[in-house]
């Protein structure tokens, strides 16, 4: 994408019918560190890569609990993500207060999308620079949505956003047909494997990733570091088999070798972490 004379304002169309500012906002999402989501019929798992700026600092929070039945993972300008999470939390609280029942996920994502659209049609605003993976459970089942800065939203069985997300998407595309009937633990395992795909050979450990689960009978919560590390270790114990191969795990995670990840990466381009995402 190159600079051109139609990209100064969000309210300027290009002759080809594009709004460049909105597209640039979507670029900001691509530059953020990866976030992935996948769902079965009864559970949804969100995961993200948490790179701290330096040894001295703590990492940014990218997964937020919105309500007992909804959580969100973000990629892009995390400040925008924080503000939108606060909006989502308020909407859930207000709906619960009025109707004494949880806000259906589909309603929330539409409200979020409409809010994003407003910023694409006001000359004094700018689009939100954050992509949101909204995971939620309601009466109609388990849902995973992706909300874009453009104001569009899509429902997914599994998705990944942010830098090097293509590697995760490739992994998920191979396996998504099994997710519907997957057990909760297998789903978490798949999430960790997908996160590993985005790390390009770097060792997967619980200090650089965050995983959260929501499901039937299980309110949204972020898994603590030890649990995540145990699941990662279970990969290594079982050996060097690649993901799709049959795994004997019952309880926790299953096989994958760390080395296999690097060889598997394929043509994902090198994208640095954007300064604004730290």
């Amino acid at each position: 994408m190159f600079r051109n004379q139609y990209d100064t304002d969000v309210t300027t169309w290009s002759p080809a019918g594009r709004l460049f500012q909105v597209e640039y906002a979507m670029e900001a999402v691509k530059q953020g560190s990866a976030a992935i989501g996948l769902r079965s019929k009864t559970h949804i798992v969100l995961g993200c890569v948490n790179k701290a700026n330096s040894e001295l600092s703590s990492h940014q929070k990218k997964i937020f609990k919105v309500d007992d039945h909804i959580g969100v993972a973000i990629a892009g300008l995390t400040a925008d993500g924080r503000v939108l999470s606060r909006y989502m939390r308020n909407e859930c609280i207000n709906y619960s207060f009025t109707y004494e029942s949880p806000l259906p996920v589909g309603r929330l994502v539409v409200q979020l999308a409409d809010k994003a659209q407003v910023c694409t049609q006001r000359s004094w605003k700018r689009p939100y620079g954050v992509g949101l993976l909204v995971a939620g459970l309601d009466e109609s089942g388990a849902h995973l949505y992706y909300n874009c800065p453009s104001g569009n939203y899509f429902e997914y069985q599994a998705f990944a956003i942010g830098s090097r997300s293509q590697a995760a998407k490739t992994y998920l595309e191979r396996r998504f047909k099994n997710f519907s009937d997957s057990s909760r633990d297998n789903l978490v395992k798949d999430a960790l494997m997908a996160i590993r795909e985005t790390l390009q050979g770097e060792t997967l450990k619980s200090s650089i990733c965050t995983v959260a689960v929501v499901g039937v009978g299980e309110p949204f919560h972020i898994l603590d570091q030890e649990t995540v590390q145990q699941m990662i270790d279970a990969f290594e114990i079982v050996g060097e088999q690649e993901g799709p191969a049959a795994e004997p795990d019952a309880a926790a995670a299953a096989a994958a070798g760390q080395e296999a990840a690097a060889a598997d990466q394929g043509g994902s381009t090198e994208e640095g972490v954007a300064p604004m995402d730290i």
Binding site: K65, R86, R89, N90, I93, N94, F97
Partner: protein, 223 residues
């Protein structure tokens, strides 16, 4: 020309009594389960007690519609607090929030007479007592509602040392053991239900201590 009087009131009194007693490491909060209007009983099984946070329980008598609205407000505010601070509200914090919430409606009050009970940050029992517009005080024991005029003098007699009239805030805790406090509560309600027509049916007793929150019931006179 005489001043016109209202022919409709936005308020009603659903009666009932509430009591709370704080101990060194526990807090007992109790209320009867009768809901009335005028001389009629609406139901014998209505809970006036609401858990606001992990270690914080509120009992309210008065106009139950206002009580319900107040409980919902506090629950919503507590959720916001948890999102922002990543932890539950402590009892003293909730006490201040309740006071502010009540005063917010100073000129159209919640017709709700509350006692808040629970454990403070150190695990010591605490009880806060309120009027309808948010004036509150940390005490060792308290009672509100239609039976309070019968209950409070008896509690003063039994627990004279931590009476708010004599003791400072710091030591606002009774010397009773948990079992003794529960017994006292049962006695006190049994007496109140003899003479107060709005108190009776059942007592709901909630005990907050280090192990958590538990609930028990006791039958009262149905008349």
């Amino acid at each position: 020309m005489t001043k016109q009087q209202a022919n409709w009131s936005p308020y009603d009194n659903n009666g009932g009594s509430c009591v709370a007693i704080a101990g060194a490491d526990y807090c007992v909060i109790a209320a009867d389960t009768r809901m009335s209007t005028g001389y009629n009983i609406l139901t014998r099984e209505y809970s006036k007690i609401c858990k606001l946070a992990d270690k914080c329980v509120m009992a309210s008598s008065g106009f139950q519609a206002d009580v319900k609205a107040l409980q919902k407000q506090l629950a919503a505010r507590h959720l916001i607090y948890q999102h922002q601070h990543n932890k539950q509200m402590s009892c003293p914090a909730m006490a201040q929030l309740l006071s502010n919430t009540l005063y917010y409606k100073r000129f159209f009050p919640y017709y709700s007479f509350n006692v808040l009970g629970g454990l403070d940050n150190e695990g010591k029992g605490c009880v806060f007592t309120y009027d309808a517009v948010g004036s509150y005080e940390k005490v060792g024991y308290s009672s509100q509602g239609s039976g309070s005029t019968l209950i409070t003098p008896f509690l003063d007699n039994q627990l004279k040392s931590p009476s708010p009239l004599l003791l400072s805030v710091q030591d606002a805790v009774t010397p009773l053991v948990e079992a003794e406090a529960i017994d006292l509560v049962k006695t006190v309600f049994a007496s109140a239900s003899e003479r107060d027509i709005y108190t009776g049916d059942k007592i709901e007793i909630v005990v907050v201590n280090a192990t958590g929150i538990r609930r028990e019931y006791m039958e009262l006179r149905k008349d």
